[in-house]
């Protein structure tokens, strides 16, 4: 009952935005909020189910975006001839070198000889890797550099890219989890903070991958969603619009956004169903047992490290899926938009406010905080303008008006602190 009321309350917020501002804005916020809810589900899997603290969510979001760029991006003519196979072989070489180094560490007898041998081996491999990669990268980036200059995508439908984005994030999570899990919990946080920043740095600088800061635009839309112009030319749509006497241009924009919202809502519901099933299975009970007392769970014969790795990968894959969905929605990949404050710590606020450990809570938190964060963008200046309307025009007023845009960070911090202090179990507590 309480849960229904909470969700109804959040729905009212969206309706109010629709009535008082515009339906376009309300749907925009709804779409992003649904994506945030998927991210929150991913973080909840890691934190709520298993107590793993990842501070690199933004990196996995970005990896999802890379998945979209690679799978559904438009193919670039001439990129394959210029050097895509060479880049791929250099990457494979690098991966093999690292695997061999790990294998050496395991097989050779312990001691300084082993360390030195591994370092020497890795150094030699690094130079070979650069020698293989650099010319190929130069060639690919030189290919039509004003419009492309990257390896391009496969041109498949965007829907195919979503699982690929999730798999990409999961694979990276496997590597980082292998290294960082099993250490103290704040070390995991710091290590993941690093991996997040490295992924973003790579996305910004590796122009051959997705054009770096030159941004990749015109990524195709996922399958059922048409373009607005197509819709306006479609006689069925115009007939139907004619019936309700609406202007076809804004109506087509709304229809497109509604389709996206429907698509995302299906994903959220499917994920919720899967999560509830998982959490109420023997496997779910085991993960909670590990979270609540690692030592006794280990004593009962549970492989704590392996389970942590499994959950870390699962959660990261869900975040990657959300990242892919977001890039599909935007239709572009802009590395500079991946800010840790927005995509790591804001998601944390969502999970904690919603109720960590509870899947419905994570979704509620995602949609609520998503709304708050995005609506505050237009709300903040409005309130500030109203508050400062008595002041005479001058530097103080301008300063206050400018500062309003940044007020939402402060507000979110305060909300996080209040919830953590007075309702640490969140809006929908774990059962």
């Amino acid at each position: 009952m309480r849960n229904t009321l909470l969700f109804a309350g959040v729905a009212t917020l969206f309706l109010l935005t629709g009535f008082f501002q515009s339906w376009n804005l309300a749907l925009n916020i709804l779409n992003l909020a649904l994506i945030s809810a998927v991210m929150a589900i991913g973080v909840n899997i890691q934190w709520g189910w298993a107590g793993l603290f990842s501070a690199g969510i933004v990196g996995f979001v970005a990896l999802g975006g890379v998945g979209v760029a690679l799978v559904s991006g438009n193919p670039v003519a001439g990129a394959w001839e210029a050097g895509t196979p060479e880049i791929l072989s250099a990457l494979v070489f690098g991966a093999i070198a690292i695997v061999l180094a790990v294998w050496m560490q395991k097989k050779l007898p312990k001691g300084s000889t082993r360390t030195l041998a591994t370092i020497a081996f890795l150094l030699v491999c690094f130079f070979i890797y650069r020698a293989l990669l650099d010319p190929a990268v130069m060639a690919v980036e030189a290919n039509d550099s004003s419009k492309a200059g990257h390896i391009g995508g496969l041109g498949f439908n965007s829907l195919w890219a979503w699982p690929v984005g999730a798999a990409l994030a999961g694979a990276v999570a496997w590597v980082i989890g292998k290294v960082a899990l099993g250490l103290r919990e704040d070390y995991l946080a710091i290590a993941t903070l690093g991996i997040g920043e490295i992924i973003i740095a790579a996305l910004r600088n590796e122009d051959w991958l997705a054009r770096g800061v030159k941004n990749l635009i015109d990524l195709p839309r996922p399958w059922p969603v048409p373009y607005e112009l197509e819709l306006q030319r479609n006689p069925d749509f115009t007939d139907w619009i004619g019936l309700v006497n609406a202007d076809p241009v804004p109506a087509s924009a709304i229809a497109v956004k509604l389709l996206y919202a429907g698509l995302f809502a299906i994903i959220v519901l499917v994920l919720l169903w899967l999560c509830e099933r998982a959490l109420n299975s023997p496997w779910g009970r085991m993960t909670r047992a590990i979270r609540d007392n690692e030592i006794s769970a280990a004593a009962m014969g549970k492989n704590v490290k392996y389970r942590h790795l499994q959950i870390f990968i699962l959660g990261s894959a869900v975040v990657g899926l959300a990242g892919a969905m977001m890039t599909s929605l935007d239709g572009q990949l802009t590395p500079s938009s991946y800010a840790p404050l927005r995509f790591t710590f804001l998601i944390w606020v969502m999970v904690i406010v919603g109720g960590s450990g509870n899947n419905k809570g994570a979704i509620l938190g995602g949609i609520l905080i998503g709304w708050l964060y995005l609506a505050a963008e237009s709300f903040g200046p409005m309130i500030m303008g109203w508050l400062t309307s008595v002041l005479p025009a001058g530097p103080v007023k301008t300063q206050l008006a400018e500062s309003a845009a940044h007020m939402r960070l402060l507000m979110l911090g305060v909300i996080l602190l209040l919830v953590l202090r007075f309702a640490p179990r969140g809006l929908i507590p774990e059962k």
Binding site: G51, F53, A55, F126, V179, A180, L183, R184, E185, D186, Y187, A189, I190, A191, L193, G194, I195, E197, I198, A201, A202, R204, N205, P340, L341, F345, W348, V349, I352, E402, S403, H406, M407, R408, L409, L410, M411, L412, G413, V414, L416, L417, L420, R421, P424
Partner: protein, 334 residues
């Protein structure tokens, strides 16, 4: 072969920047390490505390400048520092009273305190952005160079110039003063000793009548002072931008962990290890190597292992290696 020029180029591109950046990182890492030793959590808000401290320093600098006060050849920000430290300490102590104290008294798990520090980070970040926005601010004044490149060339007759900017010299000297003062405080004064005792064994320290609230208060004040100084020095050196300080969080944590979380000496060693590794790996060696090898031998490559954009990867890799090989850090015992 031209060893002298190569050495000068090395000093100019590696040694001087490394010492400067290392001092700034060491000060930052000392703050993180102290908070960890006494309060036992990783403070994610430290980067934004540095930003807040820098903003205070900038505001006081502007105030002093408007009154016509200046430090001659040195940046005015140095005079503003004590006031900035005071203001930042008050805010940080406020965050302790409003936020952290509750969890400390409730004996919450360290990770909960860490999440609370994320909340504080949001608030501080919001405050900083509301005060100065997100623009880049240059607030270094006074002489730009302690050793101008032209003067060095004229004095030595070498082809390669060596430049030492005032902000670089100030960074190193201020860091040395701070470290000496901190060690004197920790080893010689009653409060400092009680802090070390509290960090070694909380229960025993409580039994011997050490007032925990006082220890915690002093720790926050020192952490705020170190953060303000580190942030201001970094801002003087590379201009103030709000995003930069969040980016410093990782190298700072890496420095503190590499040295051994909770160990002050370790934090300093860690700071320099991270700073020099970053610069050695991202430096373009073509110029220095050019002096050491016969002409035309090198080709036109940059001889750079990693582009400077991957600085963060260097501190990350060192962090991971240390965590795998020696999880308690170089100087760590706990």
């Amino acid at each position: 072969m031209d060893i002298l020029n190569a050495l000068v180029a090395f000093a100019n591109f590696v040694l001087v920047p490394g010492l400067t950046y290392g001092s700034q990182l060491a000060l930052g890492a000392l703050g993180v390490s102290l908070v960890f030793a006494v309060l036992r959590f990783s403070n994610f808000a430290h980067g934004d505390t540095m930003a807040l401290g820098t903003v205070m320093a900038i505001l006081f600098t502007w105030m002093l400048q408007s009154w016509g006060v200046s430090a001659g050849p040195l940046p005015t920000a140095l005079i503003a520092l004590p006031f900035a430290i005071l203001a930042t300490s008050v805010l940080v102590l406020g965050s302790d009273i409003v936020v952290y104290r509750f969890y400390r008294r409730a004996k919450a798990k360290p990770i909960i305190l860490m999440i609370a520090s994320i909340g504080v980070m949001f608030v501080m970040n919001g405050l900083v952005r509301m005060i100065l926005g997100t623009r880049e601010i240059q607030f270094a004044d006074g002489e730009r160079f302690l050793l101008p490149p032209a003067a060095f060339r004229a004095a030595t007759g070498l082809a390669e110039p060596l430049a030492i900017r005032t902000s670089q010299a100030v960074s190193v000297i201020v860091a040395v003063i701070c470290v000496v003062a901190l060690f004197w405080f920790l080893n010689r004064t009653r409060t400092g000793k009680s802090m070390r005792a509290f960090s070694d064994n909380e229960d025993l320290a409580l039994l011997s009548g050490i007032n925990p609230d006082r220890v915690v208060m002093v720790t926050w004040i020192i952490a705020a002072a170190l953060a303000t100084i580190a942030g201001t020095l970094y801002g003087l050196d590379k201009n103030y931008r709000v995003f930069v300080y969040f980016g410093m969080l990782l190298p700072i944590f890496a420095s503190a962990i590499v040295g051994g979380l909770g160990s002050p000496i370790g934090a300093i060693i860690g700071g320099f290890v991270i700073a020099f590794s970053e610069i050695l790996i991202t430096n373009a060696w073509s110029k220095i190597l050019g002096y050491l090898t016969p002409e035309g031998w090198l080709g036109d490559g940059l001889y750079q292992a990693l582009s400077t954009d991957y600085k963060v990867a260097v501190s990350f890799v060192i962090l991971i290696i240390v965590l795998l090989v020696k999880p308690n850090g170089i100087m760590g015992s706990k």
